[in-house]
């Protein structure tokens, strides 16, 4: 949407990361709501450390406790148990107006009776910043979010995307220790959302403030984050960089929630230090890079874009299975195939429509094909990782 212009005034000096003191830490934090006789555990025992200057995302399906976690950091909910620290200081029982974090609300919650400039100045005025400095900082901030020309408007006269940026400016102008964003782009349409993702990332880099970003959109989290905590049922299912989470999901839940995954059940028939062989339900033997226990029942997962599809028999050293095309969806730059194996298991394959001639031959449903991939691309999910897994499954495989 916007190019970074050199003329932009620097707004805040990037906070130098103090490696020893995390910006935010949650120690055994939980939250239980009581409504009548029922109790709902929104957040289980949560341990999280968010470093200064980090773009940290809380990712998970609706109702998994993301908002509640964020509201406990902001101070709008009291933790049922545990300790919330900002910059190492225990703030568990400190009121929101005395916490040095600011929030961008999903509904924006702009003040409808104030102009854009007065909305942005609100926090600074409450902190009794001198008027001249308020004016300067508000102007700089409106410049940063590219709303300098709209300072005198009321929020009701702005588009959704502009309101979103006012909400961001209103929080950022206070130079908080951390900015908390609760699904800030959810109300925008796809194109604007994608533009704003890049815009937010640029602003975060420019101001150097810690961002805690709540989203249920895995694509958004992968695009923007330094680290992601995938949440499920009030617990962290996996914590890691976008690549770690995408390439090495810690559980079946993570594998299925992030991107598209193919899950192939099978049994380990042979294991050596070189790797293992897994016999799949369809009868094919699969080479796996990892060393496993013979006889173990496992789920093998492989991402759709790692799989090569073709009519020629692949090299036996690769991981390969035969099947028939069940469906092919042409998407322009890529084609998405669904391939059925001998036992009925369906595998999704994304194939880039590069410069080759075999595409037509395998497009027709019913065509026999070979699927193959490099053995390191299939990955055996840890045990006890059924779909309802809600344990702190942040253990990593090397």
């Amino acid at each position: 949407m916007t190019a970074i212009t050199a003329a932009r005034a620097p707004v805040a000096t990037p906070a130098p990361a103090a490696p020893t003191v995390p910006a935010i830490s949650l120690e055994g934090v939980s939250k239980t709501f009581r409504s009548g006789r029922e109790t709902v555990t929104a957040v289980g025992k949560l341990d999280l450390t968010i470093e200064a200057g980090e773009f940290f995302s809380l990712l998970g399906p609706s109702g998994c406790g993301k908002t509640t976690t964020m509201r406990m950091i902001a101070g709008f909910e009291d933790a049922t148990s545990g300790v919330v620290r900002l910059d190492g200081k225990d703030v568990t029982s400190v009121a929101p107006n005395h916490r040095d974090v600011n929030m961008v609300f999903q509904s924006y919650a702009l003040f409808p009776h104030l102009t854009v400039a007065d909305n942005v100045a609100f926090g600074l005025k409450r902190k009794r910043v001198p008027a001249a400095e308020v004016k300067q900082r508000v102007a700089d901030m409106l410049e940063l979010v590219e709303l300098a020309g709209h300072a005198k408007r009321k929020p009701g006269q702005l588009s959704g995307g502009q309101q979103q940026r006012v909400a961001l400016a209103r929080a950022l102008v206070n130079r908080p220790r951390a900015l908390l964003l609760d699904e800030p782009l959810a109300a925008l349409d796809l194109k604007l959302r994608q533009a704003m993702q890049l815009e937010l990332k640029r602003i975060q880099r420019e101001v150097g403030i810690t961002f805690v970003y709540v989203t249920h959109d895995q694509g958004e989290a992968l695009t923007m984050s330094d680290r992601i905590a995938v949440m499920n049922g009030g617990y962290v299912a996996q914590l890691g960089t976008p690549a770690e989470i995408y390439e090495r999901p810690a559980s079946r839940f993570v594998a299925e929630f992030i991107g598209t995954s193919n899950l192939l059940p099978g049994t380990v028939t042979d294991a050596s230090s070189e790797g293992s062989t897994v016999r799949l339900g369809c009868g094919a033997d699969l080479r796996i890079g990892e060393t496993l226990d013979a006889g173990e029942a496992v789920d093998v997962t492989v991402r759709p874009e790692k799989i090569r599809i073709g009519t020629a028999e692949p090299d036996p050293a690769s991981s390969r299975v035969p099947g028939t095309v069940a469906d092919a969806v042409y998407l322009g730059s890529a084609t998405h195939y669904t391939v059925r194996l001998a036992d009925g298991t369906e595998i999704v394959v994304f194939r880039q429509n590069a410069d080759d001639v075999t595409a037509d031959a395998i497009a027709a449903p019913g065509s026999p094909v070979w699927l193959s991939w490099h053995p390191t691309h299939s990955y055996v999910l840890p045990e006890n990782s059924g779909p309802t897994d809600a344990t702190q499954g942040s253990h990593h495989r090397a």
Binding site: P96, N97, H98, M103, A109, F111, H113
Partner: protein, 284 residues
């Protein structure tokens, strides 16, 4: 052309209604207020400005008193009605409509009956004062009836819902997230109310103010029932002049003076609150 005409045609019944029951009688009354004569000899149009001078001269005191009572009742309605509306809108939870119904329940009873029941309640040895006198909180000769406070309280009581409902409507409709946003931006509870909730709800206070100030100032029931000879309001005078004395010209003149004074009051009120700003928020 026809499409442009349609909205006007749709508004025709409303215009006809207004013309028939408002504009025509008003014009008639304006003309009547400038006549001289009496019911027996008949009234003749003499452009008698003297009616207005008499109205202001003789009844200026009652007009001023009515404005004071109306204003006091309106302020009491704000003081009681705002917290009530706030509480229902913010803390009412699932039972909001129940609370609103409870608030309106007394008003299913006729206006006059309600006021008369207040007379019983406030009477010198009635349920409230009698009890307080018995336990020795009040002296035996203490009384409320036939005083200015009795009339003002009666007015405030009778018009309270007209204050609560518009304020409630605005508070209910506003995004409650703005209160949290204010706290998040370092505002204390008091600051969040003064800087955010109150300004956003001003259009409701404005509407409620009009809807209580105008009818309370012109009211004649409360002063007649709860007030004494020293608390006469202008509404009672107009009523007496029309229906008892049949002095139509002077009654009409007083009516127009009252209207003028009310309009003046409303305009300065709108000015003070900044109607443009107020209306702008409301239009959102």
């Amino acid at each position: 052309m026809r499409r442009k005409l349609a909205p006007y045609l749709l508004a025709l019944p409303a215009w006809a209604w207004l013309a028939m029951f408002f504009v025509v009688p008003l014009a008639g009354m304006a003309s009547l207020s400038l006549t001289s004569g009496n019911v027996i000899t008949g009234f003749s149009q003499t452009f008698n400005i003297g009616n207005y001078l008499t109205a202001i001269d003789t009844y200026g005191e009652q007009i001023a008193r009515s404005l004071f009572y109306g204003l006091s009742a309106t302020l009491i309605c704000i003081a009681i009605g705002y917290p009530a509306a706030y509480w229902i809108a913010f803390k009412g939870g699932r039972h909001k409509s129940t609370y609103l119904l409870l608030l309106l329940l007394p008003f299913f009873v006729s206006f006059v009956l309600r006021t008369i029941s207040w007379k019983f309640t406030l009477s010198d040895n009635g349920i409230v004062l009698g009890t307080l006198k018995q336990i020795g909180v009040l002296p035996a000769d203490f009384g409320v009836l036939n005083t200015a406070p009795a009339v003002i309280l009666g007015l405030a009581y009778n018009f309270l819902p007209f204050m609560v409902l518009p304020i409630y409507a605005v508070l209910e409709r506003m995004d409650h997230g703005v209160v949290e946003a204010a706290h998040d931006l370092y505002a204390s509870r008091v600051q969040a109310f003064v800087r955010v909730v109150l300004p956003i709800s001003l259009p409701g206070v404005f509407a409620g103010g009009l809807m209580t100030f105008i009818p309370t100032t012109a009211d004649y029931v409360n002063a007649s029932v709860l007030g004494g000879t020293g608390n006469t309001m202008i509404g009672s005078i107009i009523q007496t002049q029309y229906l008892v004395n049949n002095a139509y010209p002077i009654a009409s003149a007083i009516t127009f003076v009252l209207m003028g004074v009310l309009l003046l009051g409303i305009f300065s009120y709108a000015r003070a609150l900044g109607t443009e700003r107020v209306m702008e928020v409301q239009a959102k």
